[in-house]
């Protein structure tokens, strides 16, 4: 079943059929063979794989816990049966217990490809003789087996009434009866469950597809039609593309939060990305933000961001550069922010003094919070604004 017999046969160069027959005989005697089979399956590494089931289980804490709980459950069941007087702790029980445990380990520990193989195998057994199966002979066999089980069960139960006081008969009888019923109805029962879960999965998938379609329609198709309309305006096209790109990125990374109005940003980094979006959307310029470290917002940090935003908008408006870079570094004692473009630059002495932007929005704003701003620009060589905000360290 797990390819153990085949493996042994290959190893010793015997016919696999012969090994299988020996294994089945061993299994019938005291369950010893089954336990051995399981042990072999668990310990030996499957061809084409790197780890054995045991090492895979042993390296995972959760798997170990599951195994432990399973072992306790099985042993307590055995103990309960023992107390009821159904069975004595014989060698048979021991091997049976070990086999059940082994099955648990195998089921949890097998690799994906082997699991698929196992699933098909159990499926075939359960569906054996169902109406969609191999035809009437299968149905007949299944019915015969279940009737035998049911008869044994009924016989056991009826014997109980004649021999009062023997609880064991009840347990054995009832169990056998249930096994018989399960064998009889398994194909139909499994079919129903499978059908239900298939249906549910199909519904979820349809829902996902609808969401996806809605999103593609709302954002991508809308943007594409806008782009078509703006085809002769390259700056507008670039702006639309950037907007759509950002939108898709957010959607890919975090589809859950998509479309929900986000709260105002609470960190420096989030606010800086807001500036990026705002300026990119309002002006035809690409903004590249690089941030090292992050911190919470407060009035001083907000002032720094306000000055930085002003510098970015200035670059967007006047520099004629295709892009502007923002670099922010948060250190222990200070935050530094650089806004740089490679545009046409300007001569600071020639800026008319009534222009509010640089002096008011940048220089004075920084000074009010104990920081300072430096502007380096040369006609033709771009502009860089450096903003420094010292942080008060509590220690």
């Amino acid at each position: 079943m797990g390819g153990v017999c085949g493996g042994i046969a290959k190893r010793f160069g015997v016919d696999p059929k012969r090994v299988r027959v020996v294994a089945i005989i061993a299994a019938l005697f005291l369950g010893f063979g089954i336990a051995l089979y399981m042990a072999y399956w668990i310990l030996v590494i499957r061809q084409g794989e790197e780890k054995s089931i045991l090492s895979r289980t042993g390296s995972d804490k959760r798997e170990k816990e599951i195994l432990f709980v399973g072992a306790i459950a099985i042993f307590s069941l055995m103990l309960a049966l023992q107390i009821l007087g159904v069975n004595k702790f014989g060698i048979l029980t021991l091997f049976f217990t070990l086999s059940v445990l082994g099955a648990l380990v195998i089921w949890r520990g097998v690799s994906a490809s082997e699991r698929e193989h196992l699933r098909r195998l159990t499926d075939a057994i359960a569906r054996f003789g169902s109406s969609t199966g191999e035809g009437w002979s299968g149905v007949a066999l299944r019915t015969v087996i279940s009737i035998v089980f049911i008869l044994i069960g009924v016989a056991n139960l009826s014997r109980v009434s004649r021999r009062p006081g023997a609880a064991s008969g009840v347990v054995v009888g009832a169990t056998t009866l249930i096994v018989g019923m399960v064998v009889l109805f398994a194909p139909w029962w499994i079919g129903t469950i499978r059908g239900l879960s298939n249906e549910r999965r199909a519904r979820v998938r349809a829902q996902e597809r609808a969401d996806m379609a809605a999103h593609v329609h709302d954002s991508v198709l809308q943007t594409l039609s806008l782009i078509q309309r703006a085809a002769d305006n390259p700056l507008e096209v670039a702006r639309l593309v950037r907007m759509q790109e950002r939108d898709l990125r957010v959607w890919l990374v975090d589809p859950e939060s998509f479309g929900i109005a986000s709260d105002p940003p609470t960190t420096l980094a989030a606010s800086a990305f807001e500036i990026e979006h705002e300026v990119e959307d309002s002006y035809s310029i690409a903004v590249e933000v690089v941030i090292v470290g992050d911190c919470k917002l407060n009035s001083a940090v907000l002032a720094l961001l306000g000055a930085g935003r002003e510098a970015t908008i200035n670059a967007a408006k006047w520099s004629e550069a295709p892009s502007v870079s923002i670099y922010i570094e948060v250190e222990r004692e200070r935050i530094t922010m650089f806004v740089r473009d490679l545009g046409r630059g300007f001569d600071q002495s020639e800026v008319p003094s009534d222009r509010q932007g640089i002096s008011g929005s940048i220089m004075e704003r920084m000074a009010r919070h104990g920081g300072h701003a430096t502007i380096r620009s040369m006609p033709g060589a771009g502009t860089e604004v450096e903003l420094v905000l010292p942080l008060k360290t509590s220690s």
Partner: protein, 221 residues
Amino acid sequence: MSDGALPRVFLVDDHALIRSGIRTELGNQVELVGEADEVEAAIEMIIERTPDVVLLDVHMPDGGGRAVLEGVISHQSSVKFLALSVSDAAEDVIAIIRAGARGYVTKNIEGPELIEAIYRIAAGDAVFSSRLAGFVLDAFASQNGEAEVAPPPFDPELDQLTVREREVLRLIARGYAYKEIATELNISIKTVESHVSAVLRKLQLSNRHQLTKWATERRLL
């Protein structure tokens, strides 16, 4: 690459549109020796044709650029890789660099910049985009911030950046070209290049746990 000859470039990307776009941008400034659109074929052809530089898409089916990189490097360690990506996810960037790529640029890079990057990689130097420089500064930050107490560096030689390296990275993050950095710091372009290569080496070899921890924490940017 011998002097005067064009660098021999191999292009790996699963999107035909992107490939043709890059081909147009490269023009006749490099010698394009081949293209591949999937991992297996890429590994085989790169080993066979031994290009100077492989332009490598980070995101591809069957293991992505990293699978190509690992498949080739184990056979042919002389081939150099420049990773190209639309994604700026820190995880991806750090992973591909640590797997052995000598540089990382985003796909919206301008043609001339891409060509410059290829020449730089072919000459054995490293290429950092401003985003990558920011990532590295962040990952190697001198943890004196927050309450978190940094563990002592395991290997001070590998786990810390020098003051000069930090300065160079900062300028890259601010959007400076190598030439501008050289002027700004009063050093030669060669020196700038050697600083960047040193940082690349640290990034690839350092076992600093912050690196991986940091990259997984900042999945999106």
